[in-house]
Amino acid sequence: MADGGASELIMLISGLLVAGIVTTLLVASWGGLANSVDTAQNQAEANSKTKAALASDPMQVSWDQPSCNLSLHIQNTGTLELFDGEIGIIANGTASTVNQTRLLGNSSVWTSGEVLELQVCPLGITMSAGQEITVTVIVRSEHYQGISGQYSFSEVIRLV
């Protein structure tokens, strides 16, 4: 009887130990999973609030070959403020340098609805008036819940 009680006690303690270890592992792994889901969700949310679109007439975009100057106007169509110093432009498949930016309409920050003027130079390519090219614009937003949103769009424009 005493032997039976001792073995049951051992079984009880062993069971509790195993259950405790399993629970600890499950809680730890769930914690990591929850963090990953939260981060991915915040990123998706920040990206969904980050948008931009071309505000200038795509049929008549000013291009000056001698000074390597392509004038683009981009409107913030999202809900987050965008960084006017962190813009990527790919013009006709070529990475471009943003030489100058200016917010229109006396705005000081690139908030929703505001338009930013960009003076862009696609390095090392020759383009002419009447040519139709694809421009890809990549923008980045302010931090939302610790994460910055990103957005890109492409549009065909005609140079004048």
């Binding site: 049951e8 006690l9 009880l12 809680v27 969700q41 969904s48 007439d57 975009v61 409107q75 169509t77």
Partner: protein, 133 residues
């Protein structure tokens, strides 16, 4: 002692079920938030320039909202002949928004254009353009 083992097993099992319930609840909340994010992503407005003309330095145009979103003139920009976009609210003070289905006649004065050829409008991703008649 046998009863203690059963009770302990019951406690452990209940605790595990609780953990899985919390996990399921959290996942469900995450899925709900994700769907809300998708719902929050607003559609682009459908703005249409019906026609445009110029008379004595004043540009006359008819603009309609063909979509379901209210269009704010603060967020609407005109571009004449591909030049610098101008904000619609700087030239139109009679109303601040264009409601879905509404068509409005607008006059742009003081733009400096006397013989423009093309007018383009952009508003939060919606675009439209017409030639001057």
């Amino acid at each position: 002692m046998g009863g203690s083992v059963s009770i302990s097993a019951l406690i452990v099992g209940t605790a595990l079920l609780g953990i899985f319930a919390l996990a399921s609840l959290s996942l469900s909340n995450s899925a709900l938030s994700a769907s809300e994010v998708l719902e929050d992503s607003t559609e682009e407005p459908e703005i249409r320039l019906l026609n445009a003309s110029e008379s004595n330095g004043t540009i006359h145009l008819n603009l309609t909202n063909a979509g379901d979103e209210i269009i704010s003139f603060d967020q609407t920009w005109f571009s004449i002949d591909g030049t610098l976009p101008i904000r619609a609210s700087d030239y139109h003070n009679q109303s601040t928004v264009l409601f879905p289905g509404e068509t409005l006649h607008m006059q742009l004065t003081g733009t400096g254009f006397t013989t423009p050829t093309r007018l383009f409008v952009a508003s939060m991703g919606g675009q439209s353009g017409v030639s001057f008649s």
